[in-house]
Symmetry: C2
Subunit: 220 residues, 2 copies
DNA sequence: TCCCGAATGTTCTGGTTCGAATATATCTCG
DNA sequence: CGAGATATATTCGAACCAGAACATTCGGGA
């Protein structure tokens, strides 16, 4: 059996669901939604069916039955196989043990931030800040709800984690925006000059940017 | 011109590079590497060429020349167009202003954590903890280097951000592992029981899991 | 000098993923 | 009671992406 690519965590979600009981794909998607797992695993109807096919092809799940209910499309109910159960545990073990290299979009944006001028950046970061604050409030509220309902912490760990990460980003953004706005951010004059001149002739001049960057390029 | 999907930040990187000067794809990839941008934007040779094609197709960049050097494959040098410059700024603006929904793998793993037993989880989290500590140390070291070289902070913001996020994850993991290990984690007995019984007959019983979960499912 | 490995560049292939399209059943509200 | 919204359930095509394969040149040592 050729090794499967563990790229899409939706496959892990499928394995975890089928661990509990056999289901057909639509039922899986609805169950994931009910349990709010679609917050932590990207769920896409189209992808779900291909992921299921791929799991079948690799022998990690298998068709348990195909049932027809009235005139609706035939549904195929799947169950997990022994190698599927093993794979789920192995995969999960790996994810917990080893931090994966991820590429958050905001990190990419920060990489290219010099393309924007400092005043624009301040304006945009303030908007981001507000948005993050709302997000934190939302997460904290739903955590409080879960707690009020008596749901043990083990079932909302992923929200605790998300909340911790978002709060860290918020702290970062707050520090950054403050320091740019009050001028204490190191090199902000250079940055502002570059864009002040750019404003004069329509857009940031590639040559000026290149020149400004030149002294800092090709590090060891 | 059909709207391009902004899914792959590598396209933004290409626009940002061509803003400075025309380049051929291989040169782009090498430049991204030299500047360590491949840490913040996933760089893949295969993808780079398709991304470039797609940018050409949408009129955001264009071929400036095709040169043949000896008998090597013909290289095509590209330059940014006006609409490409606009798109770069718009895209970047959007990324800075609006937090994107992301799906970190660790968050997915936390979602399915009950599949593993608490003792295994403690062992794995300790390994993760050590790994995160090394990562933070590495990031801090390279930030210190950059500072020593006189590189202004604006050019290593993405590392500052990454460091902040990793430190937050480390704090989260540390708290979590400690509380599971010392038994103060809420519901840890229930969790341990489930797996103690599982160990008796080979693997976690789906029915027991389902039963244990049942009281907590279908929240409002 | 000649061969090997590293660097320079691009293309190909096929699996993955997305988003829209499809089709029927059931609910709901006037 | 019928029309439109919503829920059930899957399929399709196009775009996307990763990784390998390919092809050439250059540098350095035996």
């Amino acid at each position: 059996m050729a090794a499967r690519s563990r790229s899409n965590p939706l496959a892990l979600a499928v394995l975890a669901l089928l661990w509990e009981r056999p289901m057909h794909p639509y039922e899986m998607s609805m169950t994931l939604r009910e349990r709010r797992k679609d917050e932590s695993v990207k769920l896409n109807f189209g992808s779900l069916y291909s992921v299921v096919d791929s799991l079948v092809k690799h022998g990690l799940i298998e068709a348990a039955s195909t049932e027809r209910d009235g005139n609706r499309p035939t549904r195929t109910v799947y169950r997990i196989t022994d190698s599927g159960a093993t794979e789920a545990i192995d995969w999960l073990t790996d994810l917990v043990r080893t931090p994966a290299k991820e590429y958050p979009q905001f990190e990419a944006a920060l990489s290219f931030l010099p393309l924007l001028g400092p005043d624009d950046v301040v304006r945009l970061l303030r908007l981001r800040q507000a948005s993050l604050e709302r997000q934190v409030a939302g997460l904290e509220a739903s955590l409080a709800d879960a707690k009020a309902l008596g749901l043990p912490a083990i079932f909302s760990l992923e929200s605790e984690y998300e909340s911790a990460i978002v709060r860290a980003e918020l702290a970062f953004v707050t520090t950054l925006v403050t320091s740019i706005a009050d001028g204490s951010f190191e090199g902000v004059e250079l940055w502002r000059d570059l864009h002040a001149r750019a404003a004069a002739h329509g857009r940031l001049d590639p040559e000026e940017l290149a020149e400004a960057l030149a002294p800092y390029l090709s590090p060891p």
